[in-house]
């Protein structure tokens, strides 16, 4: 490894692997290392099942759950929005050829009193939903039609609303949406994690609504996609992309020291050797001195031998518990996948329940989610610190990703990735550059 690289990437989490791929595709010479023996870092899927028990230091007999290798258990719960940025990245880089996806079967929202309701998929379902009363349904339907019609470039469709000034709250008022419907729209459709958005200009809210419904319209059922064999396939796919474009891969390779000269990174030391580089891209765990803790997420990985009750036996689903419905400040999320995604032994389901920590008893905060699952065969609970970089990398040329937040999809993940790419290279990622590869393969 005593060579000179343009970029050394540390850690093989999804963000690092996408960046590694984008850098290689852009013609940069990349060395990609991970201290672990496996790909994926915090966004790995753990296999075999015995390793999950070990990782959580949990007693118990993993062998009662069939062949350990048939399990691929995600550490973080997230789905892809069908029209979201990660899908665009996969399509533009050709990584789709390494991956297969299934549509998540249902999307549900929790309402006070403990019942879950299907998120209405269109205007028709808006009228038949059990989520709200008769008059409210009409209001909601009118709101939906407005969103549907809204075109950012055509002021005639705005109905006198300046989306860059009008707040979400004011738009709700315009359509007389009550508090419950606001909760539902803001959290289960716009996928806001808390209510901060309500005083913000509504354009962001409208874009998020459109993303949800455009994604939903793509495959029906739900706006979400999930890769067979688990989310850990995503970093592997982008790592392969990087390798195809010349990226060098070393797993099980410790990073002993990041070497600086005059505050600027010049190399990475590992096992007595130093690889020179012009920049480093890494996850927070490699640079404790360049990140700050901004919060915590609590997650429970639950193994079930049945579908989640009241989801019509869905083999996969998402349930969102809006904060207000359970008197919290942050939503609770439930993501469920199963054997049909090649992540569990036949007959088994994996449900992940997660939220942003608000109290000093984090596990208890998941109760509203856990209570929806029915009998739980095994439960693995973790509390993770969330880190953000304190160094923009402008001088040090060390670019640090943020920890994976509590959102249930990859939109913020992609924003972070593209932002790092721009900071690191000084330009936006040019998707047209990867086209030649696709043509070459044909």
């Amino acid at each position: 490894m005593d060579e000179e690289y343009d970029v050394i990437v540390l850690g093989t989490g999804l963000k690092e692997c996408i960046l590694s791929g984008l850098m290689s595709v852009s013609g940069k010479k990349v060395l990609h290392m991970d201290r672990n023996k496996y790909y994926g870092g915090e966004s790995a899927s753990i296999t075999p099942l015995e390793d999950l028990f070990k990782r959580f230091e949990k007693d118990g007999d993993a062998s009662q759950y069939g062949r350990g290798r048939d399990w691929n258990v995600d550490l973080i719960p997230k789905f892809l929005m069908a029209k979201g940025q990660l899908v665009q990245l996969l399509l533009h880089t050709g990584c789709t050829r390494y991956l297969e996806f299934k549509v998540i079967e249902g999307s549900y929202v929790y309402k006070k009193g403990g019942k879950i309701h299907k998120v209405p998929a269109d205007e028709k379902e808006a009228i038949t939903t059990s989520l709200m009363g008769l008059f409210e349904k009409r209001h909601f339907r009118n709101y939906l039609m407005y969103i549907h019609k809204f075109d950012e470039n055509d002021p005639k469709t705005h109905d006198g609303v300046d989306a860059t000034k009008t707040t979400a709250e004011e738009l709700y008022k315009k359509f007389s949406l009550d508090k419950n419907t606001q909760d539902f729209v803001g959290h289960a459709v716009s996928l806001h994690r808390n209510d901060d958005y309500i005083k913000q200009p509504v354009l962001d809210q409208i874009r998020k609504n459109k993303l949800y419904y455009d994604s939903l319209a793509t495959y029906g059922k739900s706006p979400y996609l999930y890769p067979l064999y688990g989310l850990g396939e995503l970093p592997q796919g982008f790592a392969r992309l990087s390798a195809i474009y010349g990226g060098v891969y070393m797993l099980d390779k410790p990073c002993d020291e990041i070497v600086y000269e005059d505050g600027k990174v010049v190399g990475v030391k590992s096992e007595g050797e130093t690889a020179k580089c012009k920049m480093v891209i890494c996850d927070p765990s490699y640079v404790p001195g360049k990140v700050k803790k901004v919060g915590q997420v609590v997650r429970a990985i639950c193994l079930l031998d049945h579908p989640i009750p009241n989801t019509k036996d869905a083999l996969s689903c998402q349930i969102i518990i809006p904060q207000n419905q359970v008197n919290r400040k942050n939503d609770i999320y439930v993501c469920c996948v199963s054997y049909t995604h090649q992540v569990a032994v036949k007959g088994y389901f994996i449900a992940l329940v997660a939220t942003t920590v608000e109290t000093d008893n984090p596990e208890k905060e998941l109760d509203h989610g856990l209570n929806l699952l029915g009998q739980i065969r095994e439960k693995f609970v973790s509390v993770s610190d969330l880190y953000e970089p304190t160094d923009t990398g402008e001088n040090s040329r060390v670019f640090v990703s943020s920890s994976y937040d509590a959102t249930t999809h990859f939109e913020t993940t992609c924003l972070d990735v593209l932002d790092i790419f721009k900071r690191a290279t000084g330009e936006d990622f040019d998707f047209s550059k990867v086209k030649t590869q696709e043509e070459a393969d044909e």
């Binding site: 790909y39 296999t47 069908a82 029209k83 899908v87 996969l90 399509l91 050709g94 789709t96 050829r97 390494y98 991956l99 297969e100 996806f101 299934k102 549509v103 998929a121 269109d122 205007e123 028709k124 939906l144 039609m145 969103i147 549907h148 609504n209 459109k210 949800y212 419904y213 455009d214 939903l216 319209a217 793509t218 495959y219 996609l225 067979l228 064999y229 396939e233 592997q236 796919g237 790592a239 392969r240 390798a243 195809i244 474009y245 010349g246 060098v248 891969y249 070393m250 797993l251 099980d252 390779k253 049909t340 090649q342 590869q437 696709e438 070459a440 393969d441 044909e442």
Partner: protein, 213 residues
């Protein structure tokens, strides 16, 4: 661009069926994995083939009597160099060619390790072929033919010595694999791949506006 498992079946066609298989290449660096593929797919050979960059995903078809076998060939893209091949690489592979260099005993030892790895990680029905490459350099031979053949027999592997340079046995080894692969009624191998959604289709479909039912 066909997605994974995206073979097209001729609709009720009489000319026979098309079967698509994922084939992975394994072996130490510089034994000639990419050269074998390049010879098989494009009929080319480069004396100083660069370490694999770029085309690491090629397809080629082989015709058997009434069946067309389409190989979707995965090259390691160099990720084997520091033992960093992703599990994704083996996933769903129905065939593998494990390559060694007949002029280098170490590469034969590594080939055995790869076979073990495949037996551990890949699907149980995978068809494995062992290729002793660089057979044109027989005067520098370090791995005896009989030794390799005995090992292959013990482990139920197909075995041939090949030369990407002279094209010796290159088409033959792919053909032998094609013959050994199970061709079921639907034209898929014993482990049919799960059909997922094809993300590439959504680019072609007309813009599905929001809220449409």
């Amino acid at each position: 661009m066909a997605g994974r498992g995206g073979a097209q079946w001729p609709n009720g066609a009489a000319q026979g069926k098309i079967c698509q298989f994922k084939l992975v290449l394994l072996g130490e660096s510089a034994v000639g994995k990419s050269s074998l593929v390049l010879r098989f797919v494009k009929g080319q050979f480069h004396e100083y083939q660069e370490s694999t960059i770029g085309a690491a995903f090629l397809t080629q078809t082989v015709c058997l009597d009434d069946t067309t076998v389409k190989f979707e060939i995965w090259d390691t893209a160099g990720q084997e160099r520091y033992h960093s091949l992703a599990p994704m690489y083996y996933r769903g592979a129905q065939a593998a060619i494990v390559v060694y260099d007949i002029t280098n005993q170490d590469t034969f030892g590594r080939a055995k390790t790869w076979v073990k790895e495949l037996q551990r990680q890949a699907s149980p029905n995978i068809v494995i072929a062992l290729a002793g490459n660089k057979a044109d350099l027989a005067n520098k031979r370090m791995v005896e033919y009989d030794e390799a053949q005995a090992y292959a027999e013990e482990n139920s592997l197909l075995f041939m010595e090949t030369s990407a340079k002279t094209a010796m046995n290159v088409n033959d080894i792919f053909l032998a694999i094609a013959k050994k692969l199970p061709k079921s009624e639907q034209g898929q191998a014993s482990q049919p791949r799960q059909r997922g959604v094809d993300l590439n289709e959504q680019n072609q479909s007309s813009s599905g506006g929001c809220c449409k039912s």
